[in-house]
Amino acid sequence: MDLEIKERIRGFITSNFLYGQGGTSLDENASLLAAGAIDSTGVLELVTFLESTFNIRVEDADIVPDNLDSVNRIATYVGRKLSVLSKAVVFDAR
C-alpha cells in the first residue's frame, strides 16, 4: 500500500512538475522547493492531486514544506491522513 502511494506521488511529480526531465532518478528525499520543481501554483496543484487521488482533505495548516516538500514527506503525510481516515470510517460505521 505505502509503496503504491509513493509511486503515484512520484509519478505525479515527475510528470506534472518535472515534465519527465531527469527520468526516474528523482531522489525521494530531495526538496522540491530547492530543486525548483514546484512554484506557487504548483502547491495548489499538488494539494488538488492529493485530495482527489487519495480522497483526503488537506487542511490549510497542513500545507507546509514539512509535510509536502519531498516524495517521502508527502507519502508519510498521506499515509498518516489515510490511517486517521480509516479509523474515522470504522468509527463512523459503528
Partner: protein, 655 residues
Amino acid sequence: MCGIAGFFGCLPQTYPPREIMRRMLAVLSHRGPDGQGLHLDEGGGLGHTRLSIIDLAGGQQPMSNEDDTVWVTFNGEIFNYVELQEDLAKRGHKFRTRSDTEVIVHMYEERGLACVEAFNGDFAFALWDKRKNRLVLARDRMGVRPLYYTHRGALIFASEMKALFQVPGVQPEIDPIALDQCFTFWFPLAPRTPFRDIQELPPGHILIAESGSVSVSSYWELRYPVGSENSDLPAPTEKQMAEELEALLIDATRIRLRADVPVGAYLSGGLDSSVVTALIRLFTASRLKTFSVGFEAEEFDETKYQQEVVEALATDHESITCTHGDIGRIFPEVIWHAERPILRTAPAPLYQLSALVRQNEFKVVLTGEGADEVLAGYDIFKEAKVRRFWARQPRSSWRPLLLRRLYPYLADVQGQPQAYLQAFFGTALDRPADPFFSHLPRWSMTSRIKAFFSQDLRQTIGGYDALEELRQRLPAEYNAWHPLSQAQYLEAAHLLPGYILSSQGDRVSMAHAVEGRFPFLDHRVVEFAARIPPRLKLKGLKEKHILRRSIGRYLPNAIAERPKQPYRAPDSQSFLGPCIPEYVEDLLSKQALLRTGYFEPRSVQKLLDKCRRQGTVGFRDNMAVVGILSVQLLDHLFVRGKEAIAPAPALSTTV
C-alpha cells in the same frame, strides 16, 4: 517615423545594389507606407520607407545638406527640432524644408558626432559623410527606435533584421546563447540579437565606419547618484521636486505633440496614461481621441477604469476587446514583427490596438510608457524592498506576510500558505548585497524553462552564465547606488529597450504604421527622475509617490490614487484552449520539435498535456508555453521557411 536600410562598402556581387535595396525596403514597407526613397552612390546606399508626420510635402528622404556632401536616412523624431532649426538658421545654415530630418544634417555639420547630444528625441539614423568617407549610425538614449547591422564585406544596416535577411549571403540562424539569455532575462543582451552575426546598436550609442574600421561607443548612459541622500547641499524638498517633475513632464508632452497630423493617446486606465492624457488636454482645444484594449477574460480587463478616465477627461474614445482566439490567431504575425522569442502574449493585444488606431486614420499616439521604470512603479521594486526588509530579520514570521500586500490581484499569492510564500520569495535572502538581489526571483523562475532545452542545445550553451555576463557589464559605480536605483537600472537600461519598447512597443505599433511617443522617456525626465531620492519614488509600499504628488491634481482622486495593475494578457489558454490554431499543433508536434532541435519533445508534450488538462496553470508553465511556441515560430518564419520572410504578410487582423 519610418523604416531605414542601407549599406556602406562593397555589397556581395550577386545582385545589383539597387535590387538589394529594393528588397530590403520592401520588407520594411509596413513601417513607412507613404513613400520610399533611395540614394545610391559609389561605396554605399541609403534607403527609406516613409510614414509622413512632419512636413508632409517636404520631408522626403534620404535628405542631404546644401552641397550634397552629407546624406541622412532617419527613423523617428527630433522633438526639439523647432528650437534647433532656429538656432542653426541664425548660424547661417540654409534650410530647404521644415522637417526635423534636415536638422540632423545641419547639426552634424555644426557639431560633428556630438550632434546627437543636442537631440531630444526618439531616433535611429544613418548619416553618410562623403567628404570624410564615413558612415555614422546613431540611436536614441532609451532605445525607442531600433537599429540592427551586420558585417558582410560591407556594413549593412536596417530598422528590422528581416531587411538584413534580404541581402544574399545573410542567412538567419538562431544563436543558442541568445536563447539562454531570453530564457533568463526575457531578451538578448544588446548588441547580441536572437540571430547569429546580427548586431543591435545599443541605445545611446553611435557607430562610426570609416576607412575599413568600425567603432561603437556610448554617448549617453543612465546613471544614479552615489550616496544621494547625504549630500552637503540642502536637499530639495518633496514639493520642489514635485514641481520640477511637473514642469518637465508638461514640456516633454508639449514637444511630443509636434506633428502635422492629428495625435491620439493610449489609455490603459492606470495612472501613467491618464497623466499623459490629462497633460495633452492642457494643449489641445479639440476633443482628444483615445484608444484602449479590453479583454474578454475578466481577470485581465480594465475597461471599467478606462471608462472612468474617459468620462473624467472627456475624450473621444475607441476600444477593442481582445479574446483568447484573437491572440492565438495573430501570434505568428506578432513574432514576425518582434523577431525574437517572447515569454508572454502581452504584445499581441497591442498589435490589435495599433490596427485600431490605423483604422481611425491616426499615425501618432502618446502613451504612459516608461513611467514605471523611471519613477518606480513596478511590483518588482516593492517586492525587493519587502524581501530586503525581511532579510534583516530572516526568522521573522510576519515580515514575509507583507508580500501578500504586493499582489492583491493574484489569487495564487493571496491563497498561498505562509510557509510557501516564504519559500518562493525567499530567494537570495542570505545575499542582500548581491547586485541582482531584486531580480533573482524573476530570473531564477524564468531560467527553469531551460529544463525544456534539448540535450544538444544544452551542450552548445555549455557552462555559459548569462548573469555573469551582465555582472561584467554593470557600470563601475553600480554597487554604490541605492538598492532601488540598482533595480530601476536593470529595468530601465535592459528590460525596457530589450523587451518593453521593442516586442511590446515599436515592433507591434509600427506593424500598423503607428508611432508611439513617450513623455516619461524624455531624457530630461529620465535624468531628473534618477536624481529624485528613492524614498520619494517608492514611499513605504506606495509606488510612484512623487508622480501622484506632482501631476495627481490634474486627475480625479480615484485615478490618482489607484494602485498599479500590471498589464497582462491570457497566455497558454490562447493556444491550448477550446480552439487550437492549426500552426500550434504543427509547430509543437514531436516531429517539428525534433526538426528544429531546440527543445525536448517528451517534456514539451507533458507540459502541453498538463495545460490542456488543467486549463489554468501557473506563471512558469504559461511562460514556458509562450516561450517555446515563439522560438518554434521564429525558426519557422525566419530560419526554415525563408519564403515567409517576404514583404509583410497579409495583415489579416480584423478589429
